[in-house]
Symmetry: C2
Subunit: 340 residues, 2 copies
């Protein structure tokens, strides 16, 4: 298999370039010849960070003077920040010098720049971001969209469903993942007008559509892919991420009650942490921007070196499994045959 | 203080009239002379259930032949089900024979019948339902709306904010509760178009508006009242209710790992349960339908006797604290003075 050429925005995250470089080194160690890695950023800084690692020889550096901050206006980057690590990294992917782009930087900026430079896969109305959440059964649930789009039209929701279904199939190895439409009741007549319209589109799409699902169905493991507008998707995702902090505080107060409580907590805390940690997508290792002509993986600003390494590994997987080829085929596929 | 006249739909819930009668008896025991309680339902059934309790003498029974089921069309009840316990109960409140109505029955039916018979408080665009969620700090967060309305206009969101603020103030004894608008980012330019419009209305309303909040701010305790459309409110609420089941399953698997794990679990499980139980509004004891000329408290179909008793107690509180009088004053209050 040809190595996958990944370019990492080494200046993106809150702890850049330190975490980016450490994550890059870990990825090179793990992925070996499957990966050909390029770091974009201030050359002198990156060289200094890399010097300590014997793996530095396997990593290419491309210099970029400028760094986009978390506060920069996403849409301005393509016109005004062409010497930034973000722009130069995406541009390498667009030009064909790289297969995938990874960044823990300004999320809106990464989305806008990737979409504007690379364009959408033919037939895709809007690129989207999906995120895996853990479930009761252990088989994760992909929620899509989690914030790339708000006020999505029914056609956009249809495209999120098709892309989410393809992504789940290829990443999880599930032939016909079940797809549910997030709503406030099971009946097709329930909910927002745009969601009722989307219900019709999803029912005739060539996916394993199981109808409306509710907020409780995400963690239950009843359904593989949950489709929604990025507004409620983002709200649910951020709520989910906050559950661990909430419980930690409740348990901290409890542990203060005495020695028995403290001991019990010491035993149980790691279990809770591992069950809830997966709700936080920086631990999971980034999310792909689905639907563009390219492979962009987006992570939290506070990504750890481990999260950066996971993001790079995910980029390699998305390229290897040809997610974009499958999206391209599925988005233009004919409708399901009507069943009498 | 005059006793509050509460009428209970004794046939509403999934375990009616058993749980309703047991809850009614518990409420009479706790509230004593503050409460004057009437049960509506099949007289023979209610008499049989009540017979075992010495408190039965303090409870009035009003006969109703018909029972609305969970599957009945909400809007049809006013025209077609006038001999149902739901209709007769609400009608007693409308006519002035009762101050408050409590039901664990068909939620949509209770809302529609209450709104159609009693009408809205002058100035209120849409009645709403809010639900308290627990937070890190211990001071609950009221999420409003949690499912009474979808596709809410900006004006509706404004009214939810005003009513939520009044309800929080009177029920929690907090003078100027902070009010946040649920969104996907802090900047006023973020999110759905209708939410951006609502931001302007809330900023000039006479409430303690703190701007946009995100999904994570609900459990953090950063804000007292979170305003949203019933679509995302319902989704977040049902997601929250499902967290306990999710964790129980994770911990059950863990406890199966051995004796130490089992013992630790036995100690910690009650803490988790108590921390997460409050996310489930049937435990909390129902939610009020705010904004109607009347006091309607709505509970889960599966309400326990304890939940029914809590709902009756809540009805008494809402009447005693004159929530409707305060809503009426606040909804027509002049805008905040512009600050330079």
């Amino acid at each position: 298999m040809k190595p996958v050429r990944v370019v990492l925005d080494a200046m993106g995250g809150d702890f850049a370039p330190k975490n980016e470089v450490q994550g890059a080194v870990a990825a090179v160690r793990t992925l070996g010849s499957r990966l050909q890695l390029t770091l974009v950023g201030r050359e002198a800084d990156l060289k200094a960070e890399l010097a300590a690692f014997p793996e530095s020889g396997a990593i290419t550096i491309v210099h970029a003077d400028d760094v986009v901050s978390m506060d920069d206006e996403p849409s301005s980057i393509v016109k005004q920040r062409q010497s930034s690590s973000l722009y130069i990294g995406v541009e390498r992917m667009r030009s064909g010098a790289a297969d995938a782009f990874v960044s823990a930087g300004n999320t809106g900026g990464v989305m806008a720049t990737s979409t504007m430079l690379c364009g959408r896969i033919a037939g895709v109305s809007r690129p989207t971001i999906g995120s895996f959440l853990p479930t009761k059964t252990g088989r994760p649930c992909l929620v899509v969209d989690v914030g790339a789009n708000v006020d999505s039209k029914a056609r956009f929701l249809h495209d999120f469903a098709v892309m989410g279904s393809v992504y789940y199939r290829l990443m999880m190895g599930v032939e016909r993942p079940s797809v549910g439409l997030l709503n406030v009741g099971e009946e097709p007549t329930k909910g927002r007008e745009v969601v009722r319209e989307a219900h019709g589109l999803l029912a005739s799409a060539n996916i394993n559509f199981v109808g409306n699902v509710e907020g409780r169905d995400i963690l239950s493991g009843n359904v593989d892919v949950v489709v929604c507008d990025g507004f409620e998707g983002n709200i649910v995702l951020k709520f989910a991420e906050s559950v661990l902090g909430f419980l930690k505080e409740k348990l901290r107060r409890y542990a203060a009650g005495g020695l028995v409580q403290k001991l019990a907590m010491a035993v149980v805390a790691p279990v809770l942490r591992s069950a809830l940690r997966d709700m936080d997508y920086q631990e999971y290792g980034g999310v792909p921007l689905l639907g563009i002509n390219g492979v962009t993986i987006i992570g939290h600003g506070s990504s750890s070196p481990k999260a950066i390494a996971n993001m790079i590994a995910r980029a390699v997987d998305v390229v290897d499994r040809d997610v974009n080829g499958a999206i391209s085929a599925a988005i233009t596929a004919p409708l399901k045959k009507e069943t009498p």
